[in-house]
Amino acid sequence: MTVAVDKTKCIGCGACVVECPVEALDLIDGLAVVDPSKCEDHGKCVLVCPTNALAIPNQSPKAKEELDPKAGSEFNINDPQPDAIKDYAQDNDKKTIRAQVTPVAGGDVWSGVWVIIEYTNGKVAPVSWELLGEGRKLADAIGCGLSGVITGHQIDSVIPEAFAYGAEKVYVIDNPILKDYRTEPYAEAITSLVQKYQPEIVLMGATSMGRDVFPAIATKLQTGLTADCTVLGIDPETKLLQQTRPAFGGNIMATILCRTRRPQMATVRPRVMAMPERVDGREGELIQEEFTLSESDFRTKVLEFINTDAKSAFLDKAEIIVAVGLGLAAKRNMAIAEELADVLGATLAGSRGAVEAGWLNHDQQVGQSGVTVRPKVYIAIGISGAIQHLVGMETSDFIIAINNDPEAAIHKVANYGIVGDLFQIVPALTAEFKKRLQHGVAN
């Protein structure tokens, strides 16, 4: 017998190829392929497959369920392992994870959760504090410490804030070379701290800075990095960081592990994790390190910084968003959305369709290839709700959708779905809001 591959389910993740003890599996053209001359029906691939694409054909469905209690639903590597593979799991998984971790820079300490605090142009990116909140939960689940890292110049005012948001220790490199953000010196500074103090987890916001410097650092350290996570967790047994992110344009969620190298690195989307409570006056340990490189070591220089104060630049921080989609039909109809936004003091945004039609700028696009938003109120006008759009806005506190199609996907995520002609409904809403807001009458 040979393990069979269901090609409609296989996503080509390669988990089975790694697990197979006899190297009978390979990825060909993005699909798992079994070499029947090598396969010995161990079944390890069947259990590790995240999409249940593999099966041993002579097993009745019942036998498969006995082997894997979760068969038929989704298989989770962290669920209790059935006896058949327990030995294997202990043999391979745990040993690999706990004992055979390859230290990337000598020593084998690798302990603690670090959050890189983003400080540019005199401001801390709020995602840094969100991550200290999330980092607290992770550190508690592991039973280790939580630290913040600040690199830059003249950063003294940030240190007490990092303690206030929950860091027990703060590592600092303060040097004029680090005044403006540049990849090279920032990557060098953060890498040197990681190599010296060996944290097991290093997190940063998935901002333009986090997404620029983290790949450089992970390459220097030769370790794994997961971008744009929206959920983080700790496996209770292995203490591995479970890094969950949208994949394939947000159509699926994937949980990624970095089993054997340290640190485990991830960037996390802003406004996905909750802001922790700020406790002013909280104190901690401050560790200051020197920056040993000089300006001549770097090949980039910042010539200028142009602040763009467009409202849309702060789309991800907007409290109320009025977003338009192709249902608006023409650019001249933008006026009805603009009037509603004016009355509510809301920020205008749109779907990819509306942006590609030229009604809005690229930086006003909400969704997978645009900005993720989490306002208090999101009003979707004439947006059908393609999955790429939904992943960028469905964590909004309250969603109001206006669409003439009662079956539109946007109505399925909306708290209030208004079915009908947006050209009548939106002006009517605007008039009602105006009446109440301008008179200051709530009821």
Binding site: A216, F248, I252, V302, A313
Partner: protein, 277 residues
């Protein structure tokens, strides 16, 4: 000047759907395209070549059918295309992919010293934005990500406008350097007829795991520190209240607004004009 463009063939993710019954990815019939951001990198390389002279080489990693993307890219006016394709490359994560691509660029660099490398800011099927910076680090080139404008290119430096959340950063880097680019960088051209004819007859070079002295421990699944442990459908959000406004939009609007105020979802701002509570 020698320009290299890193390009990826990707499924058009706007066409990818989840099978509502089996909860798995439906990939059949999904068209393959050149990663849109990479196309803008290619466009910029060709513009700069037209202005300053030189050569544009495209490098891609993927299955044999990715040749189609390379042939398509040739129609815009590139000079050479190399496909890195081998089963041993399969399953590489971004660290391993950057290793394989950097080996190829190193090889090119030995005979035709590279001045500028272009890559898209990210690929639309993975959205990791890690491969470009990974290549730059391995080659020891400065990286300038999220480029929206190439202001100036000289024999020794490139000056670029980078997009950040709070504004535009103008950065100058010494050559050779690597840029990852946004769509705002330029407008794409249409393929010219002579280039289309040239591309039709062009066969991209294919390099496999034996072409270069690869370290097998750094590539493929086993050279990838990250692995997928679980895949699932995005958590659904349960729908709320539906209002039928097809008959009487004005009174439905009044009802909705009243409910929003009653439940404090939208509040009267006491600072708003005329505000009194």
């Amino acid at each position: 000047m020698n320009f290299v463009v890193c390009l990826k063939q990707v499924p058009d993710t706007s066409e990818v759907r989840i099978d509502p019954v089996t909860n798995t990815l439906m990939r059949e019939g999904v068209p393959s395209i050149i990663n849109p951001y990479d196309a803008h990198g290619l466009e910029e390389a060709i513009r700069l070549k037209e202005k300053m002279g030189g050569k544009v080489t495209i490098v891609s990693m993927g299955p044999p059918q990715a040749k189609e993307a390379l042939k398509k890219a040739m129609t815009y006016g590139a000079d050479r295309a190399i496909l890195l394709s081998d089963r041993a490359f399969g399953g590489s994560d971004s660290l391993a992919t950057a290793y394989i691509l950097s080996m190829a660029l190193q090889k090119i660099h030995e005979t035709e010293p590279i001045d500028l490398v272009f890559a898209g800011k990210e690929a639309i099927d993975g959205d990791t934005a890690q491969t470009g910076p990974g290549i730059a680090q391995r080659l020891g080139f400065p990286q300038l990500t999220y480029a929206i404008k190439v202001r100036e290119l000289t024999d020794t430096t490139v000056t670029v406008e980078r997009k950040t959340e709070s504004g535009r950063q103008i950065v100058q880097a010494q050559l050779p350097a690597l840029l990852t680019v946004e769509k705002e960088l330029n407008d794409l051209r249409y393929a010219s007829l002579p280039n289309m004819m040239k591309a039709a007859a062009y066969e991209p070079e294919v390099w496999d795991a034996k072409t270069l002295p690869f370290d097998v421990k750094q590539m493929g699944l086993k050279g990838s520190p990250t692995s997928v442990s679980r895949i699932f459908a995005p958590p659904g959000r349960s729908g709320g209240e539906i209002f039928d406004a097809t008959k009487d939009p004005a009174s439905i609007a009044a009802t909705v607004v009243q409910k929003l105020f009653q439940s404090n979802i939208i509040m009267v701002n006491p600072l708003a004009k005329g505000g009194k509570r």
